[in-house]
């Protein structure tokens, strides 16, 4: 595939003398810090968005669809009125949309592995997790886009968060931190499975039920008791509750602690696992 000629005319040939000059003019600089290498990979992720802006569609169109569909289709049935349901579901949809987006971190990593450029990254003398951390950091920008779209749409539809702009920003930050932790689960899956499609399927098979078996859409009190017990300990429920609390100004500090703790544990377990798999990949 790399050798497939395209219809573009070839460029001018290389100039041997210039190649020699280019060789002699370079001295080896000190290697970049882990942070600098990571940010460079984050920049790579941004460039891909710049060249293929369509890939932002899934983080913009889908959330818009969810907000409109759930608010107007189910709002009356679940909460009695669309306005009341919007207050309940908007932070929930924020959580759901951002968490769905984390699956793409795994898909993107799996896609990357099929390309020769990974060999070059792995043969560079850089901090070894940098390509992974960098791409996950880059993905955070996608989460931010998804979150912003949802909140702006909510405000247009009449959502008025009690804690104002600071509350919304705090909720967004909390969701993104959790998403950062969760995306390591999907990068691990991305390295374990063979095709991007398999990663996508496995990812959604996990995230879909977990999200629906939470308090994102419905008040758990209406559920059978066994289900209610599960929903109440589901970290996604706690994240949704904490986000609502931050946006309304009545957050429980314990919930925030649990969310941050879960993100930390996910990162501590799955980030090293991802790095190890990435290193040992043949």
């Amino acid at each position: 595939m790399s050798a497939t000629p395209t219809t573009h005319a070839d460029s001018t040939p290389a100039d041997e003398a210039a190649v020699r000059r280019a060789l002699s003019s370079s001295a080896r600089p000190p290697l970049p810090s882990p942070l600098s290498a990571t940010l460079t990979f984050g920049w790579r992720g941004m460039l891909k968005v710049k060249h293929v802006p369509e890939q932002l569609l899934d983080v913009t169109i889908t959330p818009v669809m969810f907000v409109l569909m759930f608010t107007y289709l189910f709002g009356g049935a679940i909460a009695g009125s669309t306005g009341e349901y919007l207050d309940y579901i908007l932070p929930g949809i924020l959580v759901m949309s951002v968490l769905f987006t984390t699956v793409y971190s795994g898909v993107a990593l799996n896609t990357d592995l099929t390309k020769g450029v990974v060999d070059r990254f792995r043969s560079l003398p850089i901090w070894r997790p940098a390509p992974l951390v960098g791409s996950v950091v880059g993905d955070s920008v996608r989460y931010l886009v998804a979150g912003t779209v949802i909140v702006v749409l909510g405000v247009i539809l009449g959502y008025r968060p009690g804690a104002g702009v600071p509350g919304v920003l705090a909720a967004l930050a909390l969701v993104i931190v959790f998403a950062f932790g969760l995306s390591w689960v999907f990068t691990t899956i991305g390295l374990l499975l063979r095709s991007p499609n398999a990663v996508m399927n496995a990812g959604f098979m996990g995230i879909f039920p977990l999200t629906f078996l939470s308090n994102v859409f419905v008040d758990p009190e209406t559920l059978p008791s066994a289900l209610e017990a599960f929903v109440n300990v589901n970290p996604i429920s706690i994240l949704a509750t904490a986000s609502r609390g931050l946006m309304e100004g009545n957050v429980d500090a314990g919930d925030i602690g649990i969310v941050l703790g879960t993100a930390a544990v996910l990162t501590a377990v799955f980030a090293p696992l991802t790095t190890r798999l990435y290193r040992s990949r043949a």
Binding site: H8, S11, D15, E16, S26, S123, L124, L192
Partner: protein, 331 residues
């Protein structure tokens, strides 16, 4: 920081198996600093696996190797800081532009933003890619991609460069350009380990060659020694009319001796090292009213080298596909 040893690469008994397939089965290599060393073999012979071990991308099952004095397992980070790799798939990012690719690598090697931009511009100019700097690499031709790939490998001049089949699939013009670049690198003092399927390429570039087959080095020497061990070149003839091949075979057998009928029904070849005798043989064909579409005097092909060295043709092994599969699964 470099070693006292005159060898840039010293490998002993390298072994790597994927499942039951021993892709590399006890390879020893000694590559002198400042030379171009060719590793020659068909697909699936174990070239890529060997290069990936030396470039620290794979850990050998057994055996050991030192690259510029550093152990490839225990001192992998040090190895990575003095080598660069141009992989079999072009090791560039298709979703970025040529310029962005080089800036990315430059930044990862520690250049500051302004330096990285300047370095990228300098390399694009030197490699004849300045016009395509802002174009996405997926729209590059195969030759441009390879040049960018090599440029990315010398953003910071490496002491040792691994080149895995740098011209496979390229047209002759692009191939010559890549060869010119490799020669310039060698003049600049870089040691090169070159994997190739083409004897021609190893002959053009390499000071020493190891022929590798089924994971083992089966012959080693200078290109001249290797060709001498294999025998002679061959006259390749293509006929206008395949019905005349029996007649052509008779004439060539009379003039040159052993004749080989090729898969193409209008083509045949005869071993011959001497241009004058080849010319006479072609003239003899013409006297016998055999109409010739074209002819060439070639060096022994890799096929012939293989046949001579191993007694079996250099086909792509069924194992090759199995190895590719296993490598993928090993993840």
């Amino acid at each position: 920081m470099t070693t006292q040893s005159p060898f840039a690469i010293e490998a002993t008994g390298l072994v790597k198996a994927f499942g039951t397939v021993r892709a590399v089965d006890g390879v020893d290599l000694a590559v002198r600093s400042g030379s171009v060393y060719g590793v020659l073999g068909p697909n699936g012979a174990g070239k890529t696996t060997a290069i990936r071990m030396l470039a620290t991308l794979l850990i050998p099952d057994s055996g050991s190797a030192r690259v510029l004095g550093y152990d490839i397992v225990r001192e992998a980070d040090k190895v990575r800081s003095v080598v660069s790799l141009t992989g079999q798939l072009a090791s560039v990012d298709e979703d970025l532009t040529g310029q962005e690719n080089l800036v990315l690598i430059a930044r990862l090697l520690g250049l500051k933003r302004a330096q990285a931009n300047a370095r990228a511009a300098e390399l694009l100019e030197a490699f004849g890619l300045a016009d395509a700097a802002g174009r996405l690499v997926k729209k590059f031709s195969g030759g441009m991609r390879r040049r960018l790939d090599v440029a990315a490998s010398i953003v910071v001049t490496p002491q040792l460069m691994f080149l895995d089949e740098p011209t496979t699939g390229l047209d002759p013009r692009s191939r010559n350009q890549v060869w010119d670049i490799i020669r310039a690198l060698v003049d600049g003092g870089t040691t090169i380990l070159l994997c190739t399927q083409y004897l021609d390429e190893a002959d053009q570039l390499a000071d020493g060659i190891a022929v590798i087959d089924r994971g083992k080095v089966i012959a080693e020497g200078t290109p001249a020694q290797l060709k001498a061990s294999v025998g002679r070149g061959a006259l390749h003839v293509r006929l206008l009319d395949s019905d005349q091949r029996p007649e052509a075979e008779r004439v060539l057998a009379h003039e040159l001796g052993t004749v080989h009928l090729e898969a193409d029904p209008a083509a045949l070849s005869a071993s011959c090292a001497d241009a004058d005798r080849a010319a006479e043989a072609v003239a003899a064909l013409s006297r016998s009213d055999v109409r010739v579409a074209g002819f060439s005097l070639g060096q022994p092909s890799l096929d012939e080298v293989f046949l001579a060295l191993t007694g079996h043709p250099a086909e792509e092994y069924a194992d090759a596909a199995a190895i590719a599969d296993q490598e993928e699964q090993a993840a």
